[in-house]
Amino acid sequence: MSTIVSAGSTARTERPAPPSTARRAALGRIAADTINVMSRELRPVWHEPASVLFAMVQPLVFLGLFAPLLPDSHGSALQWFVPGIVAMTCLMGASFTGAGLMDEMVTGSHERMLVSPLSRSSLLLGRAFKETVPMLMQTAIILAVATPFSFDLHPVGVLVGVAMLALFSIGVASMSYALGLASDGQPWLFWTVQQTVIFPLLLLAGVLLPLDGGPGWLRWLSDLNPLKYVVQAVRELFAGSWHADVIAQGFAGGLVIAALGLWIGVRGMQRS
């Protein structure tokens, strides 16, 4: 075995090692592979930073044309509305991202990566973690747009809220990649599922309008939506208030999405 690998090849050699060392080496490799995949995914973002605006078109339209219709009954409407728009942007951006993988499946680079020694999990993890970067850029843009108006910026709360949204983005992005893999080069399938899921999820999270006055069945459905808890907590945090239970619920919602997404995504990638 070793003679073959050493024959002018730079391939990773496999040597027997104690189980604990072997496990650490395997984890180290997954980490290195994940960083490799993530930095590769980020390159197009650095080359064309304006590309992050694509996922923001709809949220910005809502911010400009829908927010002014909201009554300023509980203080500033913008203060209430902006966190929802940030969450909407995360959801949009992260759920689009599987389309990029589908392009790579069609053009061939995904296949090339499958034949490389990169571990299957890192192919998913690197992509999912990458999603936090455009999400941060988008959030910064929205806050920069909203702050001159009747929106108060509470930096510490924003940072914690963004961390919560990052978990949410990672989970949604993973599911989007799993959907891309499952759609197997049929874009209509991907977009049909994505569009079908996204708007009910947004409306049932109380992103556009408060759910308090809604009928019981609607509130019951929204209680099942992890995004609702994320949006509630982000509203608190962006407003600079720190209700421990709301924040804990928000992180729980984010974690549920992240864990579920990564599980589905890694499984999907390992099967490809």
Binding site: M1, I4, S9, A11, H47, D103, S109, R112, S116, P117
Partner: protein, 339 residues
């Protein structure tokens, strides 16, 4: 390093696909041994099972039964080791269309465990070697087909693989780029001495490039030899045209006396297939001239691999490529991706 030990061995390698409750045997019990340093072409029409074979050898697809070892590693039990030892240039583009070529080369090198510095140096080397200097810092989507193909090959070579697999490397290229690509592959093989396995349905390509041609049809190997020997078994085709039928009749009789000749006459034309026909045609024409039946037209065609395929299967390769089995391979690759 022993240059004669096999670097690829398959044993009864089999892959079936089930689509719409129909089982299609894409590869049926393939036994193949490829030695270190060989340049082998798997030749066959669309749907013959070439790509399915390659996908099994590169760990993209699990065999239904049977097995294979590549570079000493089992393609099912030691996938990671196989992936580390091989280079793969698929039918698509290895470099992402939204990426820059140089970045992709570095990232591929890192994936194969090179240090950052080594990966950069190797990328520079390949960029210079494959003439990509002017385009390596551009978005891959903006490159021409030929440039992208050269980049794909560079991607497959980053880690100096022991075995390089090329899946229909010249499909979709214009003739000039195809010739260019063949020259690159030949040069690589000459310089590195590495094993190269490519699939093709272009006879000219298999003929020009490969030392060894494995002809595959309906998932089975139907011939396996050098292109020269495959063809020389068939003999040259001599076509003689005469001003009248009687001349052709005389010619047919005389040509039939040549050992091993297979002669057919169609009106005033005679077609004879004879081993070493190119050497015998002079004497034959001289003889006919002496008999008062000088031919008005002479054509000597060396056999092509298409003739070989026709002889082996009763179909010409061009026909086979257009036949309905071409549909199978499309189905195969889609299911292969889903599996």
């Amino acid at each position: 390093m022993n240059t004669t030990d096999p670097v690829i061995v398959t044993e009864a390698l089999t892959r079936t696909f089930t689509s719409r409750k129909q089982t299609v045997e894409a590869v049926r019990g393939l036994d193949l041994e490829i030695r270190r340093g060989e340049l082998v072409a798997l030749l066959g029409p669309n749907g013959a099972g070439k790509s399915t074979t390659l996908r099994m050898l590169t760990t993209l697809l699990a065999p239904t039964s049977g097995g294979a070892r590549v570079a000493g590693f089992d393609v099912v039990d030691a996938q990671a080791a196989v992936r580390g030892a091989i280079g793969y240039v698929g039918q698509g583009n290895g470099a992402g269309h939204q990426q820059h070529g140089r970045d992709e080369l570095v990232s591929q090198g890192r994936a194969h465990g090179l240090s950052r510095r080594d990966a950069r140096a190797r990328a520079d080397e390949l960029i210079a070697d494959l003439g990509l200097a002017s385009v390596s810092d551009r978005k891959v989507a903006t490159l021409s087909g030929g440039q992208r193909r050269r980049l794909d090959i560079a991607m497959g070579l980053v880690h100096r693989p022991e075995v390089l697999f090329l899946d229909e490397p010249s499909t979709g290229l214009d003739p000039q780029n195809r010739a260019n690509l063949q020259a690159q592959v030949e040069r690589l093989h000459a310089e590195t001495g590495n094993t190269i396995v490519l699939t093709t349905h272009y006879l000219e390509e298999a003929d020009a490039l490969a030392e060894r041609v494995v002809v595959i049809d309906h998932g089975r190997v139907i011939a396996d030899d050098s292109a020269y020997r495959l063809k020389s078994g068939l003999g040259d085709r001599i076509t003689l045209a005469f001003a009248d039928v009687s001349g052709a009749e005389v010619a047919a009789t005389r040509a039939a006396r040549l050992p091993g000749a297979d002669v057919t006459r169609d009106g005033s034309r005679v077609v004879a297939r004879i081993a070493h026909g190119n050497e015998l045609v002079g004497a034959l024409v001289h003889d006919l001239h002496g008999a008062g039946h000088a031919p008005v037209g002479i054509e000597v065609a060396r056999p092509t691999l298409d003739d070989v395929f026709l002889e082996l299967t009763g179909r010409s390769l061009r026909e086979a490529n257009e036949s309905p089995t071409a549909q199978d391979e499309n189905d195969d690759s889609r299911e292969g991706a889903a599996a």
